[in-house]
């Protein structure tokens, strides 16, 4: 048993291995891939587990009936071997400092958490939309909530994945800390309580617009844009 360097507790809510398999297969959308890669960044055994999932792809490729290559394919490729490798402009990685974003997410954003354009979500809550696409109208966004904030009961049309990056929250299904993911079926309505102590930053992937239970929340819902 070992403990992540900058977390005081190990990850207790892991995504199921079917997500790892889909990530390895390249069968996830861009938004889902970002969330899964971010989650894996908190898990020490992720590289080994990912290698296991990717091994399935290797075995399948080994067993595929080979396709016919162009007659001059090898000659063409051999001719290119001496060409210099195109220089890949590697974007300067922003300094980590106290930034809670895992590397895959920070690389994708190209900036830190305080440089994002946070917008109003509700009292004590801010959000930033990151991506929208894939099947089932997926939306990837981040939530930043003050300690003690209560997020009203809500659901979605499909799967909701919430990865904690900083702070923690609780709901009837348990306590969620950095690295933990809560996966909920959209039909199930749930409310979240942000724990006291420090702000909470989460990466969320939702399908379809948020559906709030209370009429007050529903009334402001059109302005949220999620």
């Amino acid at each position: 048993m070992s403990v992540a360097l900058n977390n005081s507790a190990p990850v207790t809510h892991r995504l199921g291995d079917e997500w790892l398999m889909a990530y390895a297969a390249g069968a996830l959308s861009e938004g889902q891939s970002l969330l899964v890669a971010s989650h894996l960044s908190f898990l020490g055994d992720a590289p080994a587990r990912l290698a296991t999932a990717e091994a399935a792809g290797g075995a399948l490729i080994d067993d595929l009936a080979p396709d016919l290559m162009a007659p001059d394919a090898l000659a063409q490729t051999l001719a290119r071997l001496d060409m210099a490798e195109p220089a890949v402009a590697s974007a300067a990685r922003p300094a980590t400092g106290e930034d809670p974003l895992p590397v895959p997410l920070r690389d994708w954003l190209g900036r830190g958490v305080d440089e994002l354009k946070w917008g109003f979500l509700g009292p004590g809550m801010k959000k930033v939309k990151l991506w929208r696409g894939g099947p089932n109208d997926q939306r990837l966004w981040m939530l930043r909530a003050q300690p003690g904030v209560k997020i009203p009961k809500h659901g979605h049309r499909g799967t909701e994945l919430v990865l904690v990056l900083k702070g923690s929250f609780s709901d009837p299904h348990g306590g969620f800390r950095p690295g933990d993911v809560e996966e909920s079926d959209g039909a199930r309505m749930h409310a979240l309580d942000i724990d006291e102590g420090e702000e909470c930053i989460c990466l969320a992937l939702t399908e379809g617009p948020i559906r709030f239970e209370s009429w007050i929340a529903r009334a402001i819902q059109p302005f949220i844009g999620l």
């Binding site: 390249g26 959308s29 080994d62 051999l78």
Partner: protein, 194 residues
């Protein structure tokens, strides 16, 4: 039983040969080794891309590009971590996502400060290269057909879980549990190697 043994031995031998070719490329820039590796993997990478519905011309181009990357990065191949087939699969998959789906998919960063240090690996032995390939191969061919089917739809057609459920007309939860079971079997087989 005998046939299984023969095919396991054959796949171990092939995996070992492919790993040796990659080592020769990394060490000596060996073009003959590259030609042999190309002859084996380029047509399979193209076949994989065709399964993902990439059109003929583009699949040909990407397969050649993938092999060029294999040449350039041969030094990064670690036979203690993966078989040559698995390593080449990951390059092909990433290239497919980049160029066909045009998505930005950041990979895990091995230098990620949050990642725990990995357990120390056993000393690099020449057995590993063929062993990993053969074991995975064995585990994959021993998968129950319903698990093998969802793994193939996931990896070879790139279908999301929901699309697999629709295609097979089974509940989403069944797709997920079959993939979890398949992963568990692979993991059990590879565990004592890692």
């Amino acid at each position: 039983m005998d046939r299984d043994k023969t095919s396991a031995a054959a796949s171990a031998e092939l995996a070992e040969e492919m790993a040796a070719l990659l080592a020769a490329i990394a060490r000596d820039g060996d073009r003959t080794a590259f030609a042999r590796l190309f002859g084996h993997y380029a047509p399979r990478v193209k076949s994989y891309l065709r399964r993902l519905h990439v059109e003929e011309r583009q699949a040909e181009d990407i397969a050649q590009d993938v092999m060029l990357t294999v040449w350039r990065k041969a030094g990064q191949f670690d036979p203690a971590k993966a078989s040559a087939g698995t390593w080449i699969f990951t390059i092909a998959r990433n290239r497919f996502i980049d160029t066909v789906r045009r998505e930005r998919r950041p990979a895990l960063d091995p230098d990620e400060p949050m990642l725990l240090p990995e357990a120390p690996r056993p000393a690099d032995d020449s057995m590993a290269a063929g062993q990993i390939g053969a074991r995975v191969h064995q585990a994959m061919s021993a998968l129950p057909p319903d698990q093998a089917e969802v793994v193939a739809l996931s990896f070879l057609e790139g279908l999301p879980h929901s699309a697999i459920a629709e295609r097979l007309d089974i509940p989403l939860g069944t797709v997920k549990s079959r993939l979890r079971l398949a992963f568990g079997r692979l993991r059990a087989v590879l565990e004592d190697l890692q």
